[in-house]
Structures are given as structure tokens and as C-alpha cells.
């Protein structure tokens, strides 16, 4: 910039030392902020790997918890319980979320649509512990005991707004001309929406679902008084069920070293599952697979 100014016969811009120093100082401070923020991230992952990797063994993955004081045992029932709860949550949450997203994108340019958009953003901001209270009131009180179903419902409520907005966003990326081409062939509206519009946006919608899934997979607060936890195997929907995040919580605040060790192992497994899900989505997004018809 200064050379062009010089060739044009103007004086080169004189930037005072003070201003240059300020500029340099602020750049350093900003870089320092990045380092400060990345430090806990590295520390957390470092500790998880360092503490967790030595603790994961075959027993951890295949056995149920041993009584206090006995070494060994594992979190197999909690891993299975989490899978069960997440299965319930996805079965309930994914269709409703996608359906609501379709409504917003295809029919929602009106007052009801705006109202739904607004409430879904509100729902997204509700603290997870409150969702737990509501699921307790809806399911646990009706069933008269804690259950996997109640946990699944709580997590489903948390998945719905994320999936709804992601689906809407992705469907709106599909150009109108694609829909019109389909109508022009005489295909009915519902068929067009399902087989053409949703089909085109599939990978984007899957991204939304995966992100919602990753978000609820680690949730603990809504499970405290819905799924409740269990020391034994359980495959029944109407019984209290162990869940990985719950088990990590209980073990972490316990006073036993053996349990602390297992809490780290459980945390490592949980974070690996979540990071794999999120990164897979990122990589897919980076490859342009999710651009839809845009």
C-alpha cells in the first residue's frame, strides 16, 4: 500500500510508533485469548485420554458395577441403558422434529409458522433440568416409577427443536425450481415433498439429526429423576435404567478411587462417541455433500 502511495507522488502514510505498538499489542492479546481458551480444551482431552485409556478394559465394557469396595466391574449396563434411552428419544424425537421442519419450510410462511419457529427457539433455550421436571410430571408420575421411557421422552423433547430448525433450513436450500419441475410432471405435493425435496436435502437433515443426537447423548440433568439409574441390566422400558452420563456423575462425586477411575473411563467412551459423531458431520459438510441443491 505504501509503495503505491509513493509512486502516486503522495507521502507514504506515517503510522506513529504508538499506533503500531497498540496494533501489535492487541494482536498479541487476541492470540493470547485463543491460547487461553484452547488450554482447557487440551487439558480436558489430555486428562480424559491419560486417565481413561488405562481404565478401559474388557471387564469395564462387559460387566455391571461391583458393590462398593470390590475392585473391577464395569459400566456395560450403563452403556446399554444409554443406547436404550437414546433409541427411545430418537424414535420419538426424529419424526416429530423432521415433520415440524417440513411444515415450517413447505407450509410455514404464515402466522402459525412464525409462532412455531419462535416457540421452537424458546424450547431450545429451556434449561435441561427443567425438561427433566416436565418429563417427571408427564411420565414418571403416570407410571408411578422411574423409567427408561421417561428418560427417552425427556431427551426427545430436547432433540425436537434442534432437528426442526435444521430440517427447515436445509429444505429451504432446495431451489423452488426443483419442486416446480416435480409439480410439472403431475406429482402431488406430498409426494414431491417426501421424494424430491426431502430427498435432495437428506444429508443436511441427517447432519441436524446427528448434532441433536450428540447434544443429548451427554445430557445428565434431565435423566436424574427420569431414568434415575440402575446397578443392574435392564431392557424394559418401564424400569429405572442406568445411563452412561448418570453413572459418570454418580462415580465422580463418590469418595472411592476405584469409582473415580471408572468415571474417567466412562467419560472417555462418551466423549469419543460424541466427537466421532460431530467430526463425521463436519467432514461430510466440508466435502460439500450437504449443500443440497444449492
Amino acid at each position: 500500500m505504501s509503495s503505491t502511495a509513493a509512486t502516486m507522488g503522495l507521502a507514504p502514510p506515517r503510522v506513529s510508533l504508538r499506533r503500531r505498538l497498540t496494533n501489535f499489542g492487541v494482536t498479541c492479546i487476541a492470540a493470547g485469548c485463543v491460547v487461553l481458551v484452547l488450554a482447557p480444551l487440551c487439558a480436558i482431552f489430555g486428562y480424559l485420554v491419560y486417565k481413561g485409556i488405562g481404565s478401559i478394559d474388557w471387564a469395564f465394557l462387559t460387566q455391571t458395577p461391583k458393590p462398593v469396595g470390590e475392585a473391577g466391574g464395569g459400566m456395560a449396563n450403563a452403556i446399554a441403558g444409554s443406547a436404550l434411552i437414546l433409541l427411545v428419544a430418537s424414535t420419538v424425537g426424529v419424526p416429530v422434529g423432521i415433520g415440524a421442519g417440513i411444515y415450517l419450510a413447505e407450509y410455514g410462511q404464515n402466522r402459525i409458522g412464525n409462532l412455531i419457529r419462535f416457540t421452537s427457539d424458546v424450547l431450545n433455550g429451556v434449561p435441561s433440568i427443567i425438561i427433566g421436571i416436565v418429563a417427571y410430571g408427564l411420565v414418571v408420575i403416570a407410571q408411578k416409577h422411574f423409567s427408561a421411557l421417561a428418560g427417552g421422552v425427556a431427551l426427545a423433547i430436547m432433540m425436537i427443536p434442534t432437528i426442526t430448525r435444521a430440517t427447515e433450513e436445509m429444505l429451504l436450500l432446495v431451489p423452488t425450481s426443483v419442486r416446480e419441475a416435480s409439480y410439472g410432471l403431475g406429482v402431488s405435493r406430498w409426494r414431491t415433498t417426501l421424494s424430491i425435496t426431502l430427498r435432495t436435502a437428506t444429508s443436511g437433515v441427517i447432519t441436524g439429526v446427528m448434532l441433536a443426537f450428540a447434544r443429548v447423548a451427554g445430557e445428565t440433568a434431565p435423566l436424574l429423576f427420569t431414568a434415575f439409574g440402575n446397578q443392574f441390566w435392564n431392557w424394559k422400558l418401564n424400569q429405572p435404567t442406568a445411563a452412561l452420563p448418570l453413572q459418570i456423575f454418580v462415580y465422580a462425586i463418590s469418595p472411592f478411587d476405584e469409582w473415580h477411575r471408572q468415571a474417567w473411563a466412562g467419560a472417555l467412551i462418551l466423549i469419543v462417541l460424541i466427537v466421532v459423531a460431530v467430526s463425521a458431520v463436519r467432514i461430510a459438510a466440508g466435502r460439500g455433500m450437504l449443500k443440497g441443491g444449492n
Binding site: L36, V96, G125, P127, I130, T164, A221, P245, F249
Partner: protein
């Protein structure tokens, strides 16, 4: 696509269209119904406590399940202090990170940096709590708290026994959790500032920092405030990590070293053990208050972000 088959069967496809529309509308209305249900559940279940204590509930500081006397002030206080502390620590960092990523970092570093800071948001709360118990709290107890107590003890904010566990630990862990949210929103609103604005300020001979300050931050400030408030919403409702390190004691102390309690933590700890209708109802009322506050905070935040990014297409943070 298969052809030949006549696709127009007017009657049946109209009916099918109608059914499909109603089904999708039903899903959409589910979202409305859920929020309605949340409000209904919270209001009806907290009725008992509301009638027993009225507004006083939020200003009394006795929490005594044995004699059925409940006042939520210690929890309200703990929630406010821990969240404000978190924001004080997190906001400068988050804005710094956002400025670095959008304006200063080399282009190749942008994507990876953005991704890693967002990874912080993907870590479950319970894992933050676990890490805080075994890594952060001992560090605080051994190094940071004695140091603060020695040199800043006179402020009254850092006095008493350094347990490690307490308000300060909760504030720090919340700050780490809030940074990615604030910085993501800040980045979004900063990229929404038109490029011409930057070029105009640079053309006047500004250094890069002067350009950022006058050309970018000043235009994006409403949106940044929105991000900060969104972070506040997250901090207010955060449960697990805080419950694990705040100490869970029903008391109000000036010192940040002292243990405290938050609204979300008391629900997490006591809800499943609450015997007695008034006790349960009081906990739900705490939940209702938390719900109302987070809703207001979130709506305000979205409005502020919208004032900066309106007219821009929604973008992901890559």
C-alpha cells in the same frame, strides 16, 4: 423417474395432500404443545408453594424441609453470582478469540480454530464437572486461591479457607463452557459487517486494530451483546458441572471461596428425594423462576443478534 403411470389422480391425491399437510401441521403443533405443557406442568406443580409463600419465596433465605419452610434467595443469589462471574471471565476471552479468528488469523488457520473452539461446546456438562473436580479444584486449592487470598484478600471477595470447591470454581468452569457460545455469535455478527466498511476505514489510514475497533466492533456491538446475553442464558441454566463443584451449601457468603448453591443444582440434588408436597412444589417453583428468566434472556439475545444479522442468509460457522 417412472413415467407412463398416470400420476394425476385428482381425487385421491388431494385427499393424500390434505392428510400429509395435517400430519406435518400436527408435528409443528407438537412443538407448541410441548412449550405449553412445560408451562402448565411448572405452574400447576408449583401452585402449593406459591400459595404458601407468595413473592416472599424469592427473598427468604431459609430452606428447611423439616419444618416445611422454603425461601429460594440463596439459590437465586448463587445463580446470579456464578453466572456473572462466568461472564466477567468469559466475555473478554470470547471476543478476543472471535476477533483473532475473523480478522487476524491466517486464512488456513480459521477453519481449524473455529472448529476447535466449537468442540468445547460439544463436551457434555458432566465431563466438565468430572475434570473440574479432579483437575481444576485441586489447582485452585493449592495455587490460585492462596495467591488471591494473600494479595486480594482485602477486597473481601477472596477470604476464608481455600476449599477449592465453591463459587469461584463454579464461575471458572461456567466461563469455559460459555466461551464457545459467545465467541460463535460474536464471529457471526462480525462477519455480517460489510467488507466495504473495513476497506473504507483502512483506506483512511487506520491500522488493523483501529479498523477492527471503529469499523467492525462498533457496528457489531448490539449483536455481541446478544451473544453475551445468550451466554448468560446458558450459564443460568447449567446444571451438572456447577452442581459438582459449587459445594452445594445453602448459605450466602461474600467471599468467592465459600461454597454456594444454584437454582439448577438444588433441583438436581433434591428433586428425586423430596418428600412432602410443599417441598416438591417449592423445587418446581424454583424451576419455574429459572424457566421464565432463561426464556426472557434468550428472547432478548435473539432480538439483539437479529438487529445486526437481519437480511443476511443464515450461515454455519465454518
Amino acid at each position: 423417474m417412472a413415467q407412463a403411470e398416470p400420476l394425476i389422480k385428482a381425487g385421491s391425491s388431494l385427499v393424500a395432500d390434505r392428510i400429509f399437510f395435517l400430519a406435518m401441521l400436527g408435528c409443528g403443533l407438537c412443538v407448541l404443545a410441548l412449550v405449553g405443557l412445560i408451562v402448565y406442568e411448572l405452574v400447576t406443580k408449583s401452585n402449593l408453594s406459591w400459595h404458601a409463600f407468595g413473592w416472599q419465596f424469592f427473598f427468604r433465605s431459609d430452606w428447611d424441609p423439616v419444618s416445611d419452610q422454603f425461601g429460594a434467595w440463596p439459590f437465586v443469589y448463587g445463580t446470579i453470582v456464578s453466572s456473572v462471574l462466568a461472564l466477567v471471565l468469559a466475555v473478554p476471552l470470547a471476543v478476543g478469540v472471535a476477533v483473532f479468528i475473523t480478522e487476524m488469523s491466517p486464512r488456513w488457520l480459521r477453519g481449524p480454530l473455529a472448529f476447535t473452539t466449537e468442540l468445547l461446546a460439544a463436551i457434555p456438562s458432566v465431563i466438565y464437572g468430572l475434570w473440574a473436580i479432579f483437575v481444576l479444584v485441586p489447582l485452585l486449592r493449592k495455587y490460585l486461591e492462596p495467591f488471591l487470598g494473600k494479595y486480594f484478600g482485602w477486597t473481601g471477595l477472596f477470604e476464608g479457607t481455600p476449599y477449592g470447591v465453591g463459587m469461584l470454581a463454579a464461575g471458572i468452569i461456567l466461563a469455559i463452557m460459555v466461551v464457545p457460545i459467545v465467541s460463535a455469535i460474536t464471529r457471526e455478527v462480525m462477519t455480517a459487517v460489510p467488507q466495504a466498511q473495513r476497506e473504507a476505514v483502512l483506506a483512511l489510514g487506520a491500522t488493523r486494530w483501529e479498523m477492527i475497533r471503529t469499523g467492525v466492533l462498533r457496528n457489531a456491538r448490539a449483536g455481541i451483546l446478544g451473544g453475551v446475553i445468550l451466554g448468560l442464558g446458558r450459564a443460568l441454566g447449567e446444571t451438572m458441572a456447577v452442581t459438582m463443584v459449587i459445594g452445594n451449601r445453602v448459605e450466602i457468603a461474600r467471599s468467592l471461596f465459600a461454597p454456594g448453591y444454584t437454582m439448577a443444582s438444588v433441583i438436581a440434588n433434591e428433586f428425586s428425594e423430596a418428600t412432602g408436597d410443599v417441598y416438591l412444589s417449592a423445587l418446581v417453583e424454583v424451576g419455574l423462576a429459572l424457566f421464565i428468566v432463561t426464556i426472557i434472556v434468550n428472547i432478548l439475545a435473539q432480538f439483539l443478534v437479529w438487529t445486526v444479522t437481519r437480511g443476511m442468509p443464515a450461515r454455519s460457522h465454518v
